[in-house]
């Protein structure tokens, strides 16, 4: 169950004691409000926040109760919000663009509610997400950006030319047609219009684990730096262990003696808190992006995410070791190219031979690379869309 909170610009009655509007702080206030209900909060732009209440209904009640609570708490704080509660994040995000007040959608009714919304809500949401990601106020907000993105404006203009006016029209289009005409972006657009979630959750920044190490003597070369990183990761992983979490994204900022910042970012296929694996992945990134000067300061920021521990059960399938698989996938990607390794997933297409490459182990799709391969297609003759070239 997801709840989306949106404070329309006109409704920004949130003011400081001296009466000065402080619109920039509204997002922070929304995050605080949302976090009172759930620890999982995601920011999608200025004044647009989603909270995930999955699994905590014993605490927040059902969708109606959650919506009523949010509305009451918001009113107490003089926040006049649009609130949408739905079983998927996409549905909540879209509904809140079009409906004022409180909207609660019962599970299974998302498609029916979304069907009547105009196609413009997609454009509106895309614009808000884009503005939220780049605006000056966004940078001051201490929360992480969300991973959800609409494959944007050009696609919407195209489907509008087909006579598609509502989300329902888009949802009922043939997937094969969308794939053929718009590529994988078209399918993503349709999933979004149907209210289906396919992006991973971005944790808020105040849950991040961060460590900075100033080096008395600047280090040169990857091996000494790797030694320093291993110390940093051991400390960070100990903190993650205390929180029963693993690293989902690792950002490394290396301050060089020249004053430059050498930044690296590693996104893991599955959360892990194995310091060796994290160090290996960062080392691989370093090999790809070598340092140009000695390093005087190391900062590592880790976005935590719940870890799915290995299931030890006679009845359940054994789960993969996340650290090993993440390292393996990273190395394979380096060897054959992004999008050339993963799990194939069948996609509806006209000839029934379409597939898309997804992350391994299975999870949210990455870099939607949908393809269609017909019987007789071999190697480079395959119809390919949006995949990077491999070189195995």
């Amino acid at each position: 169950m997801f709840a989306c909170l949106y404070a329309p610009p006109r409704g920004l009655a949130f003011q400081s004691n001296d009466g000065v509007p402080r619109a920039k702080l509204v997002t922070n206030e929304l995050v605080r409000l949302a976090r009172e209900q759930s620890p999982r909060v995601e920011v999608h732009g200025d004044n647009l926040v989603v909270l995930d209440a999955t699994g905590i209904t014993y605490r927040v009640g059902n969708s109606l109760e959650l919506g009523a609570t949010l509305r009451r708490v918001a009113a107490d704080r003089r926040l006049y919000l649009r609130i949408a509660v739905a079983s998927t994040r996409s549905a909540a995000l879209l509904i809140v663009q079009a409906r004022s007040g409180l909207t609660v959608v019962e599970p299974g009714e998302e498609a029916a509610v979304l069907a009547s919304l105009p196609l413009d809500v997609l454009r509106t949401l895309a614009r808000r997400q884009a503005r939220g990601a780049t605006g000056p106020a966004r940078r001051r907000v201490p929360v992480a950006g969300a991973g959800l993105a609409i494959p944007a404006f050009a696609l919407l203009s195209t489907v509008r030319r087909w006579g598609v006016r509502t989300l329902g029209d888009l949802a009922h289009q043939s997937s094969a047609t969308l794939l053929e005409r718009l590529g994988p972006g078209g399918l993503a657009l349709q999933r979004f219009a149907r209210g289906e979630d396919d992006a991973s959750w971005a944790e808020s920044a105040d849950q991040r684990v961060e460590l900075t190490l100033r080096l008395e003597t600047p280090v040169e070369g990857h091996d000494p730096l790797s030694f320093v990183l291993s110390r940093v990761f051991e400390t960070l992983c100990a903190r993650l262990a205390q929180a029963s979490a693993g690293a989902s994204v690792v950002q490394v900022r290396l301050k060089l003696v020249t004053g430059e910042i050498h930044a690296l970012r590693v996104t893991l296929a599955a959360p892990t808190r194995e310091s060796k694996a994290l160090r290996t992945l960062v080392r691989r990134e370093l090999d790809l992006n070598p340092l140009r000067a000695r390093v005087s300061e190391v900062t590592v920021v880790v976005d935590p995410a719940p870890t799915g521990g290995r299931q030890i059960s006679l009845l359940a399938r054994t789960q993969l070791d996340a650290a090993r698989v993440t390292t393996l996938m990273s190395r394979l990607s380096m060897l054959v190219g992004e999008g050339r390794c993963g799990s194939p997933a069948l996609v509806a297409s006209g000839d029934g031979a379409g597939f898309a490459m997804r992350t391994f182990p299975p999870g949210p799709p990455h870099a939607e690379g949908a393809e269609r391969r017909t019987v007789g297609d071999r190697g480079s003759n395959a119809v390919q869309t949006g995949t990077s070239a491999g070189n195995l």
Binding site: V336, A389, L392
Partner: protein, 227 residues
Amino acid sequence: MACGQRPCDLADSGHPGLDELLGGGFARGQLSEIVGPRSSTRTGVMATVLAAATGRGEVVALIDPGDQFMPTSGAAFGLDLSRLLWVRGEGGGQARDVSPTIARALTALELVIDAGEFGVVVLDLSHLSVSQMRQVPATVWSRLFRRLAGGKTSGLLLGPEPTARSAEGQVVVLRASANAGAGDVGRAGPPEVGARPAHDAVWEIRVVPAHRSSDAFVTFRGQRADA
């Protein structure tokens, strides 16, 4: 039987008749081969083996430098695609010098084996010719044997002819079927998506296990041995 009569060290192939010939299945910790000419249903046998492994809850990997695997065909064999790691190349079988292709494929295979999480790992070199396969130095295969040894991963190599079986591994030799192309389950794929091609397939198989050999080809139709 390979592996000293220890059924736990065998990965069953998913085909009762083939399992019988193999003595229970493909040996784990060994490199076995599925070989035969084009259109001899090598890929069909491979998909059956992978489907059986995913059916047991294992994860499997396919190193496919020729980028020949068709997910729809795999799914038609009952392969759980979500438990398949597919490492794709971009062909290259037509190139004169395939050494880089093979080298990268072998590196990928070694990485997958080292991860140690996979029940069955397949290296599909069936797009290469016999002469191209012979370019691979024997030491490369020896290195693979050592990596596989002692593990729970069953290594399979698809190729045109026997090249690299390890000591306890088996070789499945396939002969081009007379009706290949019609009921063939190999590269031609199933006649229609969603069909169960294994039931229509005709496989002519000769198995060379570790400690015995059979010269006679045995014909299977579907899931049952006809001869």
